[in-house]
Symmetry: C2
Subunit: 259 residues, 2 copies
DNA sequence: CGCCAGATTGAGGACGCTCAATTCTGGTGG
DNA sequence: CCACCAGAATTGAGCGTCCTCAATCTGGCG
């Protein structure tokens, strides 16, 4: 349904969130060339170790970055939704250290590195915004490490759902009722759990009246309780235009007036 | 012992690993202004949520980036050694999403963001190298997530030791005999384990003749076996000047002729 | 000599895993 | 319209890795 143009708009909106870009900057982003590609679920569109010459903008669907052990155990190290430039870092580090794979049916828009570098060289503001976007991905990664390493299954799952809710909200969805096209196996890969345990934990959250996840649809019944259960502080997502410059964080277990 | 100048040299060497920087670029890096600060073990030098105006180059000692849960459980999301620009990303995202803390006695060199931006604006090559350095940190973070999420304690510990060995080697140490000034509590924080379990696992590796970790000194007796035990593939560290452009990775369980 | 942080060891418990069977769901073709 | 199928979700039973809670030991230092 979504077009590459819409994907670029979503990305631009995020870039512009904390940097003031002028009309020329915006044009450059929206005019980024590329080619559209449709990827079936569970198919890689960036293979491990391959040197690739494009950044992949997610236009539609959910994509994941996978790490893997010798024994074949998989770990999702990132989940990407429309408007995410999934391997922006490949612009400066073309040798992929992890694979990108479609989780649902995905549409990507492949933007040549050369075009990306061209845009970034022509505008310092844009360069900074792009670099920052990379940095936000790293901040999310750090939060995932803390989440998976130091919280139990229930909190972990709640935390991930909260994160995805806010990220979907930022691209126009309803925070408490959105489509999240992912299987329990993939949730397990993201959370360093097994799908069996994800299933039981999901049931627990459902029975406690916090959320429902049926088929592709998430419905959050009690945002505050879910954020509390997930020990969720949305700061790391850097979704707000401006931070209250108080030095206070104070948004632990984000209350529902966030945003 | 180390001077800020030496720290900057180490950092520059890494920047220059994959980008050809000219004399002017090198000068700009080596002339980066800043102020030296000594930090005692277990003291934060970048506090959570505080907006800070400098990037911290580690000149001496070991520093760590910490995440934390509501209950106070801590997770190390990065370990930094001399020559690391520990919070380079703060140049574009000043609101710290995690704290930086000294693990051993640490000397940092605080470089004002303004100086960093100035250098980066004056040279596209430098801009790209700096952005890439940020990206390598993210690649390491991703590997940590996979490591902690999908490997058992023994492999996890072996993997981390291998990583640190190569990173120390890159700044002049001996891969198989180096000083790693860190407590078992901090190792546990890095590996998402408890210190008790780190202790037992360390003993196991010692009894199997793989390594010795006494006091601050690591001695690796059998590199190949340790890399095998840790399922260690050094690619993600991006320490080599050039990658064999074959598309083959082939360095799983890095053999000792790496580097 | 006393103190303290860190390392070490023991015993018991729990959270999440493994293996396996069963049910549900949506899509396909007859 | 139904039979069929594959993939996903669900549930059960038993188990193991790692955690918790101590207690003890060690080495450096005032």
């Amino acid at each position: 349904m979504n077009s590459p143009a819409h994907g670029l708009e979503l990305w631009l909106r995020r870039l512009a969130l904390r940097t003031s870009l002028d009309a020329a900057d915006r044009r450059m982003v929206l005019d980024l060339p590329g080619r559209v590609e449709r990827v079936r679920p569970n198919h890689d569109f960036v293979r491990l170790g391959e040197r690739n010459g494009e950044c992949c903008l997610i236009v539609e669907g959910i994509a994941g970055r996978f790490g893997q052990t010798r024994e074949g155990l998989r770990q999702l190290t990132a989940l990407h939704i429309p408007g995410d430039m999934a391997d922006l870092h490949s612009a400066v580090l073309p040798q992929a250290a992890s694979a990108l794979s479609a989780i649902s049916e995905v549409v990507v828009y492949r933007v040549p590195h050369a075009a990306m570098h061209g845009a970034v060289q022509r505008s310092d503001r844009l360069a900074r915004a792009v670099w920052r976007d990379c940095t936000v991905d790293a901040a999310i990664l750090g939060e995932w490490l803390t989440n998976n390493g130091r919280r139990n299954a229930r909190a972990r799952l709640a935390h991930l759902i909260c994160e995805m809710a806010l990220r979907f909200e930022a691209i126009g969805a309803d925070r408490c009722a959105f489509t999240f096209d992912i299987s329990q196996v993939h949730l397990a890969d993201a959370l360093s759990l097994t799908s069996v345990h994800v299933n039981r934990t999901l049931r627990e959250l459902r029975e406690q009246g916090l959320l429902m996840l049926q088929g592709r649809d998430v419905r959050i019944h009690d945002w505050d309780a879910l954020a509390q259960a997930g020990d969720f502080d949305p700061h790391y997502l850097h979704l707000q235009r401006e931070h209250p410059d108080t030095g206070e964080r104070g948004m632990r277990a984000a209350s529902s007036d966030f945003g």
